[in-house]
Symmetry: D2
Subunit: 363 residues, 4 copies
């Protein structure tokens, strides 16, 4: 009999849902026991309901699970799972996600609905594991026996890593970001080929405001049970490019303290998560890979670094308008979506939110 923690995946047939299912195959701590999708898919075997579009085959352990409807997840899940991953679209998430912590579940959501609530961690374990301190107030304030943590927008999950390293080392005064985002970020069917072949689209609905606000919450400090966001402005211009996976961002930034180019490179290259985070199963061995080649990082060549959980940074150079500029890449559906949410859940498990603290492996 398996001793793993049983988990439910909401919206398991979408592209992020598929990534959850794929990444959770053979996960050392978690095991998928419940998959939900829209009414239309309910009652079918997962393998029949899903239009599997991500790499690899459908994990056999999930292929035969019967898909259940996403409405009333609390009723559906019952005691068959303790941990819930949500890949719900924003509207659905807003409606049903709060029910889960209210009913005692631990919810790691990839949806945007609850991200900016001041008592809900917008969590990247490698950056702001200390935001877990919000949970006590979240539970007290809302009367929730359960917990919810959220993971950020996929484009944010790129540049916020070097930004954290820089802010810790020198203080950041401002940041300007232009993204070039992969089509997988829009899910399936998502971006029409008619729109994106031989083209770039300088617009993604609702994205720029997320890219400008979420990093500040992530880098914020916890005060009186709420996050006080970081105080510098972030400006974003987002673009969709004909690339399958991997969001690239060109970032310029100002620093409070004087720093040489070498200082900047070193601060980014040497940035490390807490040891307790680095010991989590999905943590990359090397978090930020600084590339010295003049033409890297590139989406196709660097997105899979460290199983898609590392961040690649390159072209760090002085900027004549702000202080420095660089290019940063994330695998948007691994670190930037399902992988990030799983890492969040691993942190919760390690910290005892899912029962007894789990024994971490040496890395």
């Amino acid at each position: 009999m398996s001793q793993k923690i049983p988990v439910a995946v909401l919206a398991a047939t979408g592209t992020v849902g598929q990534r959850f299912v794929s990444l959770l195959e053979d996960h050392p701590w978690f095991e998928v026991t419940v998959v939900t999708a829209s009414e239309r898919s309910a009652g079918k075997r997962y393998a029949e309901a899903v239009n599997w579009v991500i790499p690899g085959e459908i994990p056999s352990s999930v292929a035969d699970l019967v898909v259940e409807p996403t409405e009333n997840p609390v009723e559906i899940i019952g005691n068959r799972a303790k941990l819930v991953f949500s890949a719900l679209p924003s509207n659905a998430a807003r409606e049903v996600e709060p029910d889960l912590p209210a009913a005692g579940y631990v919810l790691a959501s990839n949806a945007s609905a609850l991200r900016m609530e001041p008592d809900i961690p917008l969590l990247i374990p490698d950056i702001n594991a200390h935001h877990l301190s919000l949970i006590a107030d979240q539970q007290a304030g809302r009367g929730w026996p359960g917990v919810v943590v959220t993971s950020p927008n996929c484009a944010v999950s790129s540049f916020v890593f070097p930004l954290k390293a820089l802010n810790d080392a020198f203080g950041v005064t401002q940041a300007h970001v232009v993204t070039m985002q992969a089509i997988s970020g829009a899910g399936y069917p998502g971006v029409a080929s008619f729109d994106i072949l031989d083209n770039v689209i300088p617009f993604i609905k609702g994205e720029e405001s997320k890219v400008e606000t979420e990093p500040l919450k992530i880098l914020g400090i916890v005060q009186d049970g709420q996050v006080v966001p970081a105080g510098f402005p972030v400006s974003a211009q987002v673009n969709r490019v004909p690339v399958m996976d991997g969001h690239l961002a060109a970032m310029s930034f100002g620093l409070k303290s004087r720093a040489s180019l070498d200082d900047v490179k070193a601060a980014i290259a040497n940035y490390k998560a807490l040891d307790s985070v680095r010991a989590l199963p999905s943590s990359p061995e090397q978090l930020i890979i600084v590339r010295e080649e003049e033409d890297r990082p590139q989406p196709r060549r660097d997105r899979d670094a460290q199983n898609g959980m590392a961040i690649s940074v390159g072209r760090i150079q002085p900027c004549s308008v702000m202080d420095y500029k660089l290019v940063v890449l994330v695998h948007n559906t691994l670190r930037g979506a399902a992988g990030g949410a799983i890492l969040n859940a691993e942190l919760l498990a390690a910290e005892g939110y899912l029962g007894e603290k789990l024994q971490l492996q040496e890395k």
Copy 2:
């Protein structure tokens, strides 16, 4: 017998050379009489020597011209042309281009070799036709009976248009540009498909320094027979994207005077070239097209506006780091290369540098 001005095209078999040949078919003033290429192609009919890769068929008037070697263009051209277009690579341009004005030819070059010489116009007629005043000093200082003007880098030919409009109206204090450039900018064979399919390359050799310096010369003032460049910093991060034609740039900028969003839009939309420039055969009816759709301009959909001679601007919005930001698009091998150089030559012809001033048409 044709009354058109006979012209030579140097490096006529490359991709920019092909654009010259294509655009000059049926040109009202100019007629191609001499085409040159590398030693390897010399002696062949143009149609045999060229690997025609641009849209349309080889103009029949040029197909049967015999390709001549590019070395010693003065000797080669003789009195068979008065006007010379150069699509030479930088090194070759540096060597042979100065010989042409020295021998009395009028040279409109698309090469980078002479662009930054202080007495040589880096010319965009719609922006700095007054830089032609450099020519008198150029001729006097160098003892040249002929003339040379240059056209800017193809990526510069995008954002420098709104920058000019903004600088005229409000004064620009700084500009930050991230480009997403088409593969045709690299010529043929240029970018390997192995590098760019499903990918973005955040680097183009030598490009960022051109993008940061050329706009300042273009927007500079003429003083004592030299250009004094504009005084604000431009910072650039350039990227290659899997797009055939059309360079897109995301630009943020600061302004000296206070300006509302409507002021900014109006300044850009209403910017006009001099009437004398607008009357040139290759001038677009509308120079800058401001798109109000939230997702435009896009390379594939907007690059051909006004026969590829217009600039498309969109997504003008406030920037939380600088004052405003926008997105701008140019057809890189039309306005941004051969079309721009032909417009330059038309201005020279209209101003009498190629003999009697030509009669301009009403538009």
Copy 3:
């Protein structure tokens, strides 16, 4: 006052509908007066209702037309148009198209619904203008005062041209076709970029049976008021490739009579439509362009030949399994859809089905 024939375009906001609207701008004979679309768009100005995704801008003459609902086209159109173009999807076409000829309209349909009806011409003027003789029986048999003609599937519109030339010259015994079809053939949004970037899809729903049957009707003979299809087998394997426009087909075929390679090339290159067809406004000057380069035709380089109304053929060579093989290209949304249907209507107009025969120009 315009003397042009007023026309209605059904489903005018789809991608084929947009091509109709675009091609009919400045058409010498026809003028768009009615545009229809789904209920959702009805009541809006065309420019507001349409998501214009094809090259060029919305024709100003149509931009301000109010979109009307497609249901009950007879009632909607009234006496505001005589000629109707249909870009309806198959199901809608099946329901409403027969009403139009029944009410006296001349309908040139691009839909598949009525294509295989034995008394309805599946018309390519350059190939089977004589199938118009079906109309008398169509009208008599169905009691229709009006007329309907249909144009074939876009992939068929490629290889059926050389097939016609070959069948006329030597008799064809069999043909095997593998298509590589552009994404524009699926309309908008059509093919998801998630499916087609860095990929080929060896399947298009319902396509193979059309590709195998329609050519035989087109090449059939008219007997007793019905088409008797050509008697040889056509086998098709269809594929979707990441190309915007232009369907490429690799075809092998057997011939009844012995023919040398030169005979085959000559038969294809010299094939000509009837003079009366060649005089139609949308007829290409050269119908089939035989390319001698070893690597042509190619979709991006050849699709726009003759305004997208020519067929390009290349790589004609012996086949060790059948007799010969070749590669053939059509612009799928011009000749292969809207352009083909307009040519059909021009033929009907020239033959007097829309009133007095129109005067044809010399070409």
Copy 4:
């Protein structure tokens, strides 16, 4: 100390060379000890000399090897390797490859130079392991103490698998193949993006004759120390498509014996290599994967099946011109190039051509 067989990789810096180096990292039997490249790279560390363009990082065990010149490989390799993999271009291969078996080495070549020599196996272990019987005559006839085997063209490595299964089961009378080949098949820089973006090229130099002749040798029988090729005609039309990896082929074929659709599917799905071959380290668990989905196989989704060593077949259906048709996919640089050659070498090792027979693992 390593007990592995030391191997040299000729042309190790090209794209196929990189695949060799990548696949041989942690190979259970082989270990790269010598890497060669052109004069220009000689003397550099491999990591410096190579422009690493394939997925993953450069194996650390090879990164520090000093690249040696490819000329005179016998002299260069000396006794530092027993087994040699060649990724040489055809011309270079023709010159230097014969020296290697003549000097006692075991050469597994991916080059085309020696493929069609009647006494040299054109080897696919899963298909014609019995062709190793040629080696005795090869050695006797040429006086070679060493051995050479070759692996076929990458496009052949797709359809020849189902062809073998069909020929064994029913006899094949003819086959017609249209390929859609990935750009990685052309190496680096290979296909210009200027040629292939938004395009298909219906031509690959020299490819069609290889695709038509090599399968017949592979399926031939050995008689008197020579291969007698299979006797049916294969006709090929090859195309380059904008896909990174994975050659897709649409094949129609005739059969000697009557076979139902189910018979055909079963013959393909149940085809198995010899047990001795299936036990080789690089053999896939399942050789031919028959997909039942109507739209598979697809290059991006199926190329990596079984580490890129499986063949995916789909869309098996009756053909109205020949008997049946299907679609087949191979990963062109894994099974179709480096992976295939490594499997060949494994077979040679297992059969004792590299010293004592190696112990095979159970699968």
